[in-house]
Amino acid sequence: MAAKTIISRPVYGTLSPQPGKHHLFIADAEGALAITDMAGKAPAGFFDGAEIVFVPGREGKHVAALEALQPVQLHVAPSFASLLPRLKQTLTNAHMGLRLYLAGTEGLIGQAMQAALEAGIDHTSMQTEHRGSLARRMQCVHCKGITENVTTQPALCAHCGLLLLVRDHYSRRLAAFQGVCINAEDRSEIPPMEEAFP
């Protein structure tokens, strides 16, 4: 689990079954294991009211394990972007009582949370569990471009090319960490790039 450093740094918990009749899970890669682990604690019939949206990622594993839970629906998507329109639709039509569970990489949790916040769910009402890569979604504070899957410190902005310090300062609204130019005074100063978010 990621360490808490400053107040905006998200902290994640462990999924636990909530009361209610409708449950929506959104997960990627190893996030599937957070769901299967939670299933052990869920009351009988819990998945009769559950829908799972899953992005298997590169390794393509865990689909069968989720199928075995027999949710009402299992929707497998190639990427978060591809599932977003459908997610928005689901949230627009949903009612109070829908419980949201987000599991997997920070990028997925952050972006799914962003869509849910827009739909009116408070972030404290969502269950989250971080699993898998620590790669960050980063917004360059200079050009505002978003760079996905940042694993190094510092990191290059994929848009304007500045060398950025990836801060712990996180924006829920943007679902991204802030990246600030690390060598603004003297561009020739190039600190070593280290693998910081594997």
Partner: protein, 321 residues
Amino acid sequence: MSTGTTKLDVVVSDVVPVNELVTRFHFRRRDGELLPTFSGGAHVVVEMRDGDRTRLNPYSLMGSPLDTREYTISVRRDDVGRGGSLFMHRQVEPGLDMVISYPVNLFSLDLRARKHLMLAGGIGITPFMAQTAQLAGAGGNFELHYTCRTASLGTYADVLQQRYGNRVRLYHDDREERIDLERLLSSQPLGTHLYVCGPAGMINWVRDRAAALGWPPETVHFEHFAAPQPGAPFDVTLAVSGKTIRVGSQQSLLEAIEAAGVDPPYLCRGGVCGQCETNVISCDGKFIHNDHWLSEEDHRSGCKIMPCVSRFEGKSLVLER
């Protein structure tokens, strides 16, 4: 002086009977200035000086928060209570000087909500009078479901329907009209917050159903001032101030502590805010807990008591006060 209990010197500017049980009281500042701003759901504690006895009862402000020239409260007459409401009904007249506390809000709207779903029972309508006025002024989205015993006891039902039309739904007990709570709670859009004020049974019912239907606890707001219950007199030792006092049968423990010249903290005097929480040093007997603040565990442990509403029966009680 206790936290949040700064006083306001007011004069009763009007007394208006609303129906056979409820009377409305209007207060203005004696110095003619505007009263402090408040938000919908706030209450004030009214000091009632009745001979040598002073009662302090909380009442929700029911006027529009947009108008601070006067505060209004509505008091339901309770013929078997400890006499606070009877004092208000019988002895308070226009022109009387009174003292009230600054407003405190323990039942505020969560303005991040997309929609506010309000459930009122009986005199529990009063905080919603202020909240609906506040929301209507800001174009807020709300719906009010109001249960009353009979149409004539539906305090302000007419005013509310006139102001807000079909955003107000009435249910009359004598006509066997009941809220279809299951359906109501299952059909609300995401981002709805729920507010309940009314008798304890109604609040518990709504909270239970909402929890079972998957409403996150942070979206469910409720207010229930417990009135201090009369009971058998008992003796208490206040260890810090070195006093031994007797709590009369019509007096609350908090009132008895105050009468002994000790100034303990309080805010709501209705067992909801937590301010008056007091440690028990030793006891021989049983507690009669009436608050909504302490956990069940705290209640069982016998280590804490909320003197504004709870009592004691037994041989001895020593408090850290």
